[in-house]
């Protein structure tokens, strides 16, 4: 078979202004964020990420590995991360469902990696090209056991780029999997994407023990302040196991306190740094009602608030950018300032109980699903609900 080699762009950062598909922006964000190894398996509506990476990764000296299935993809990526590479795993809901065992593994052995879930209509195979925010709790509670996770929720192709970069930084900083929770609507959306110069993009790299470090004397796991990662190939002689272990990686399956320590420290590693991770966008004063939303729906909420205000209604806006770790204090603050909260999600109310629990007893919290699940709410529909709640 004839092989034609196309000229290499060889630019890590594809600087410039584009009318770009969200999925492509996501792939470019990964590369700009320093991704060196990506692994995936084709799936609608995320495949364009893989298509972009398949070409671009080779051009920038990395590799896109198309695995035999999603399980292999996440495992290969985790393996690559342990060699010191920044790694990336784009997929959609069914892919994440298959990966969950090993997402938990990545959490357990503290592996930086970035996953993208371009959510599609489901449950199960459902309607692959429709965007539903149907997997919002899955990153946190989908894998068995007790753990914390970091997730970001973009609402535009630009944010597909920006948040993917940030996801890499968070993954490296906290040595843990980070999710970008997109959906088919955002993934297939085209919009202006402005990609800055390489030197304007902040990138973080994980800490690694000093050369020649003796791992029997330094803690390389379960440090709430994030232990340096004893990556492979540098002579550290790391023992890495997801069995319950101590700070040095020694397996301990017998002592109950070892399990407690294992779980708590992994959780605290994220929770103690929640201030550096959690991001919300809000625009409310002590108002009557605030709309809470994330992702594509947050654009609907923002516009609905603008319209409502233009009609003189006392409405505020609260967008969750990082659904996980849960922005508990921010929601508490909100619940102190407003009387009522309306949570908008493009699902049947997955995130809503968490908001409601946190606002407990201060603000009254209601939920509004879209008229048709899978389609962002229409403005009229939201306006009607706002008026009803303010009546």
């Amino acid at each position: 078979m004839k092989q034609v080699y196309q000229p290499m762009e060889n630019k890590r950062v594809r600087t410039g202004k584009y009318f770009m598909m969200g999925n492509v922006a996501c792939a470019e964000g990964a590369i700009a964020g320093g991704c060196e190894f990506a692994a995936g398996y084709p799936i609608t509506p995320a495949s364009e990420i893989a298509h972009t990476l398949a070409k671009r990764m080779l051009e920038v000296g990395g590799y896109f590995f198309q695995a035999e299935d999603e399980i292999s993809a996440i495992c290969a990526a985790i393996g690559a991360s342990w060699t010191g590479k920044k790694v990336f795993i784009p997929t959609s809901g069914p892919g994440i469902s298959l990966m969950l065992e090993n997402i938990g593994f990545a959490v357990g052995i503290e592996t930086p990696c970035v996953l993208v879930n371009v959510q599609r209509g489901g449950p199960t195979t459902g309607a692959p090209s429709m965007g539903l925010q149907g997997d919002m709790i899955q990153p946190r509670r989908g894998s068995h056991g007790d753990y914390e996770i970091i997730a970001l929720c973009p609402s535009s192709p630009q944010e597909m780029f920006d948040y993917t970069v940030r996801a890499f930084n968070l993954a490296e900083r906290y040595r843990t999997p980070v999710f970008v929770m997109a959906d088919a609507f955002i993934g297939h959306m085209r919009e202006e994407v402005a990609i800055p110069e390489a030197d304007e993009i902040e990138t973080t790299y994980r800490r690694i023990p000093k050369k020649g470090a003796d791992l029997s004397t330094i803690k390389v796991f379960l440090d709430e302040e994030v232990a340096p990662m004893p990556i492979f190939g540098r002579g550290f002689k790391s023992h890495v196991t997801s069995s319950c272990h101590d700070e040095y990686g020694n397996r301990n399956l017998i002592d109950p306190t070892a399990l407690d320590n294992f779980i708590q420290r992994l959780r605290n590693k994220v929770l103690k740094h929640r201030d550096e991770i959690v991001q919300v966008e809000s625009d409310y004063d002590s108002c009557e009602l605030a709309l809470v939303a994330y992702g594509a729906v947050s654009r609907c909420a923002k516009e609905a608030v603008r319209v409502a205000r233009s009609k003189g209604l006392d409405v505020g806006y609260f967008r969750v950018i990082t659904p996980w770790p849960f922005p508990d204090r921010e929601v508490q603050d909100l619940s102190h300032k407003v009387k009522k909260i309306l949570v908008l999600e493009n699902n049947s109310g997955q995130y809503y109980p968490y908001v409601r629990a946190e606002a407990a007893g201060r603000a009254e919290v209601e939920f509004l699903a879209p008229e048709i699940l899978g389609q962002v709410h229409s403005l009229d529909y939201v306006a009607q609900k706002i008026e009803e709640m303010l009546r």
Binding site: R190, R299, R306, Q375
Partner: protein
């Protein structure tokens, strides 16, 4: 000013491509904002191909086209599915080769024999979408013709640039002045 459009046809007519060119022209060359979404899945073949485009001078917040200002219908099903959504007084552009006798009430109707222009005048039915796009720009100036021309340059393979531009201007000329 925000303009909401639907371009609807069947697979292979290039409706999505027309939308992307429009968005590229707006964003990259006209310094406007644009947003495109689509009913698209490689797990589906044949059947409807629909794209929604929003062009605006300001930032686009609400991302859906619920009631378009303009409906471009490249196939009869497009009328069935989307005409009822068209804003009162909106513009309906049809490929008159494909859509015969469109209903005529409550909106501005523009008929362009895009398929025959493309296949007969330009010599390739593949550029029907550009003829339609030309008609749109000729009618509404939602983006500048110049921007579309530039968008074509950066979006289609070199060998296809000329024929696309030709089709675009042929469609543009055809629009009612």
């Amino acid at each position: 000013m925000r303009t909401d459009l639907i371009i609807a046809g069947v697979g292979g007519q290039g409706s999505l491509m027309a939308g992307t060119l429009l968005g590229t022209a707006a964003v990259v060359f006209d310094n406007k904002k644009a947003l495109q979404t689509q009913s698209y899945s490689s797990e589906l073949r044949g059947g409807a191909a629909i794209t929604w485009v929003i062009i605006s001078d300001e930032e686009i917040m609400y991302p859906r086209v619920v009631h378009p200002d303009i409906l471009i219908a490249q196939a009869p099903q497009a009328i069935v599915r989307h005409l009822s959504q068209l804003k009162p007084g909106g513009i309906l552009i049809v490929d008159s080769d494909m859509v015969k006798d469109p209903p005529r009430n409550g909106y501005e109707l523009i008929q362009v024999p895009a398929t025959s222009i493309a296949s007969k005048e330009i010599g390739n039915s593949i550029v029907t979408n550009l003829v339609v796009l030309g008609a749109l720009i000729g009618t509404t100036q939602v983006v500048s013709p110049d921007a579309v021309e530039k968008a074509i340059h950066i979006s289609v393979p070199k060998s296809k640039v000329d024929i696309n531009i030709k089709a675009f201007y042929r469609g543009l000329e055809h629009a009612p002045k």
